[in-house]
Symmetry: C2
Subunit: 221 residues, 2 copies
Amino acid sequence: MSAVICTVDVVLLTLLGEELAAVLLRREHAPFAGELAIPGGYVHPEDDLSAYDAAMRVIKDKTGIVAPYLEQLATFSGAGRDPRGWSVSVAHYALVPHDLLASRKDEAVHIVPLSQLGPLPFDHQAIIATALERLRNKSQYSSLPCFLAGDTFTLPQLQRMYELLLGEPLNKVSFRRKMSEMAMLDPVDGQFEAGGAHRPAQLYRLKAAVKKTLTVLERGL
Amino acid sequence: MSAVICTVDVVLLTLLGEELAAVLLRREHAPFAGELAIPGGYVHPEDDLSAYDAAMRVIKDKTGIVAPYLEQLATFSGAGRDPRGWSVSVAHYALVPHDLLASRKDEAVHIVPLSQLGPLPFDHQAIIATALERLRNKSQYSSLPCFLAGDTFTLPQLQRMYELLLGEPLNKVSFRRKMSEMAMLDPVDGQFEAGGAHRPAQLYRLKAAVKKTLTVLERGL
């Protein structure tokens, strides 16, 4: 058996204004040195307990943050995807609030709206496409979009995060019913956000118990 | 970077009478020589185009069949799962009709009902549990259970396959409406199966166009 290159890659998504954006890093080393790519790196058998652990380490080392929710996406493999040889990349994805990234980000970290993504090295475009499909499916049935939100948010803001990930508008009444069914939000006492012409909107936060786990909707949105 | 062991494992499920059953093989080599385990093997970078390709090869070599529908399940990794060292196993799953297996199976192949599974080596129990969870989710929204069926089947038989994978009974009328919505079945002209006290049931087969692909239900069963 010849050696297989074993890496992890991470699709790290955040909100940039009203758009979904990916975290890209300027690659320091060959192959594709100098190009923007999604964060990734070799598995370190001495340090990493698992591929999941390796992905957490890569995010921490390369962007300075601890992702609140990280999930395995799929594994991409073969002779053609990496010029160094036959490789397996265990791809993961994470959603992070923009504030968290902004507070830690250094020069190497680029936050690029999905609508402005150029060509990417390796099969990173396919990995991002797979992540977006997974996000669309999973947003239909879970609290996943909440991980894009910062500490507090209004219901219209949360609905917008769901709509961005689902790629379609949602009915306000049924959206609110589903959120209440998931029982994962706490109103923030006395805190409201002024909304221009509208009356102030109540601010919410995720309950502590569900801040790092996924809440699932039995029948979907 | 030290070397990582790269393997594939396959959860191959079939129907044994009225039960879901897993295909297990008696292991020839250490570790766990002589024990029953799910089919698996090293990735062969010289021969395999991808981990998917490796999984197809493993199924073919070890059971003699070509799986009509194979899908990547998840990747299991870490220092603890294989006594040989830090390993990555790209797990896949496939559903196959019992007739296909029965026609090719040799002495090493065991078809064991899930209710009778004993302890398994490596993390094979966790891999099977993950496969069953995926199957339950996916059966809710697709033609996946059809891959358990042989060439022809009645609607009550197909409903039973859905129920086994979902782990719950289905309403007959709504099940039939959903099957017709997926538009994937052709009645077999003039062929009926006598059903004891009941009147003969029409036999169906999958349309040629959907025999190797998954048909998806927009809103689920």
